[in-house]
């Protein structure tokens, strides 16, 4: 199964198996990865699953839709060029080994 590396605000890395089709937010919540909240359940309403994506994977991600773009405007931690909402990234084989950094605050 493809894996995702979540770098926690503490600097610790959690590596999680993520089934294709599962979002990075859902996988994080299911595996108790601290710092990803997903308060709205993954529907682009709340900005609590913000992550910074490792640059080398950026162009392999699905494009940012209007709903995500709007919410990225109001993330608690600073929005950077590699900011994404982890609820909008579904796992694929191509994303195996993806690394995302979790910001220090989500809300």
């Amino acid at each position: 199964m493809p894996t995702v590396n979540y770098i926690l605000p503490t600097g610790e890395t959690r590596t999680v198996d993520v089934a294709p089709g599962t979002t990075l937010m859902t996988a994080a919540v299911k595996h108790g990865v601290e710092g990803i909240i997903g308060e709205c359940g993954g529907v682009c309403m709340c900005a609590t699953c913000h992550v910074y994506v490792n640059e080398e994977f950026l162009d392999k991600l699905p494009p940012i839709k209007d709903t995500e773009e709007a919410v990225l405007e109001v993330t608690n931690a600073e929005r950077l060029p590699n900011s994404r909402l982890s609820c909008q990234i579904k796992m694929t084989a191509e994303l195996d080994g993806l690394t995302v950094q979790i910001p220090t605050s989500q809300r």
């Binding site: 299911k30 108790g32 308060e39 359940g41 529907v43 309403m45 709007a70 919410v71 405007e73 109001v74």
Partner: protein, 405 residues
């Protein structure tokens, strides 16, 4: 059992109190007690993704089992609190035990209003609030062809849209002259009437249900007082909820349209708080006491109370916001529009992307956005920060609302 915090209710509000207490560094015991047999779960998907099978059980649960162990939250499902002994600081449980508390949080939610007509008890008349009811609805839908939804509010319309997507013949009966009448402007009601009609849903407003007709104990049709009859093999009733106030009331706590709390979400007993659907609270954005039913209200009130209990007391001041997904259309609401006296539309409703800005006098009080997520997000900021917006600015798309300060 030990002291600490007892949270009654395992919905979004109760879950969030427990989780936020730990996040805030609270070290005392936490018990999270609820009547339902399941792990705490989200309600929004129950009328949408969960019945459509695009979201599974594990996506509906808020956290896996291990979360509660890891955070030392004593989750007690399938248990009902029957009484609060305020003097002894204990709650009594239906199973016979008791839990002592230093702080008690009532996140006891609401229950569906029953339809007060003959035939409401027939097989095939269902309601939707809980996960079990959603599972039952999914099974019923699979075996049904003609679905009548009573109530054209959020839940009714979301169920109607889901049933329509599943290929059912769907009729929505709304008692008022328009859809979602308590929460949106006529312009948005009309948009939704057209949206549903275009998908093949029959919308009947000013529909006074007189009786649900059955045959052999099974629902057969819904008859209106005017005589019109709508055949149905499944009737879904979504006519609103009433707050669960009994335990609070019996304990001598003031209740009205909900458990009465102050701006710190404390009841008349400072050791007892109420949050979420059950809490009637003073809301600055409403300018009066209100009871709100939403994920935002549940989660933000829960965090406010958790902060108080953990020693960082602050009044509740969060902006209310809501959303509803029906077919491929998302309506996002920021603020509370009740009491508005004028509206301005931004964007063109013909494009199915527009926002309605609600004003009371010169003051912007709410914004409803249809497929315009950027408007919604900026509206949340403008309303939260009490930034002045004129009707002219709201209606002029050349004005970048994000730049207003």
């Amino acid at each position: 059992m030990a002291d600490g915090c007892v949270v009654v209710g395992t919905g979004q509000a109760g879950f969030e109190v427990a989780a936020s207490l730990r996040e805030a560094g609270y070290e005392e015991p936490i018990a999270l007690v609820g009547e339902e047999p399941h792990l705490p779960y989200q309600r929004p998907p129950l009328s949408k993704g969960f019945v459509l099978d695009t979201q599974g059980m594990d996506e509906v649960e808020l956290r896996p089992d291990a979360f509660y162990r890891d955070h030392r939250i004593d989750l007690v499902p399938g248990e009902r609190v029957t009484a609060i002994d305020r003097a002894a600081r204990r709650v009594r449980l239906a199973s016979g035990g008791e839990l002592a508390f230093q702080s008690l949080v009532l996140a006891v939610g609401a229950h569906n209003r029953g339809l007060p007509v003959d035939g409401a008890e027939l097989d095939g008349v269902v309601y939707l609030r809980t996960l079990d009811e959603s599972i039952a609805l999914k099974q019923r839908l699979a075996a049904s062809a003609q679905v009548v939804v009573i109530g054209g509010g959020f839940i009714g319309l979301e169920v109607a849209a889901s049933a329509c997507v599943l290929g059912k013949a769907v009729t929505v009966l709304e008692a008022q002259p328009r859809l979602m009448p308590r929460v949106v402007a006529p312009r948005i009601s009309e948009f939704y009437r057209e949206l549903h009609a275009a998908k093949g849903v029959t919308i009947v407003c000013e529909a006074a249900v007189a009786e649900i007709e059955g045959y052999g104990g099974r629902v057969r049709a819904v008859r209106l007082s005017g005589g019109a009859s709508y055949p149905a093999d499944l009737v879904v009733v979504g006519i609103g909820v009433a707050p669960n106030v009994e335990v609070a009331q019996t304990a001598g706590l003031p209740v009205s349209n909900g458990i009465a709390v102050d701006e710190h979400l404390q009841t008349a007993d400072p050791a007892i708080y109420a949050v979420g659907d059950c809490a009637e609270h003073p809301n600055a954005f409403a300018g009066r006491r209100v009871r709100l039913e939403s994920v935002q209200n549940a989660a933000d009130q829960a965090r406010c109370v958790a902060a108080s209990i953990a020693g960082r007391r602050a009044p509740y001041t969060a902006l209310p916001w809501f959303w509803t997904d029906q077919f491929d259309v998302r309506l996002q609401m920021a603020g509370l529009s009740q009491g508005y006296d004028s509206i301005v539309t931004r964007g063109n409703p013909g494009t199915r992307k527009f926002s309605v800005f609600y004003f009371r006098g010169p003051q912007l009080v709410a914004v409803d956005s249809i497929n315009r997520p950027a408007d919604h997000i900026v509206a949340r900021r403008l309303l939260s920060a009490h930034v002045g917006v004129t009707p002219e600015q709201a209606g002029d798309e050349s004005v970048d609302l994000r730049k207003l300060r």
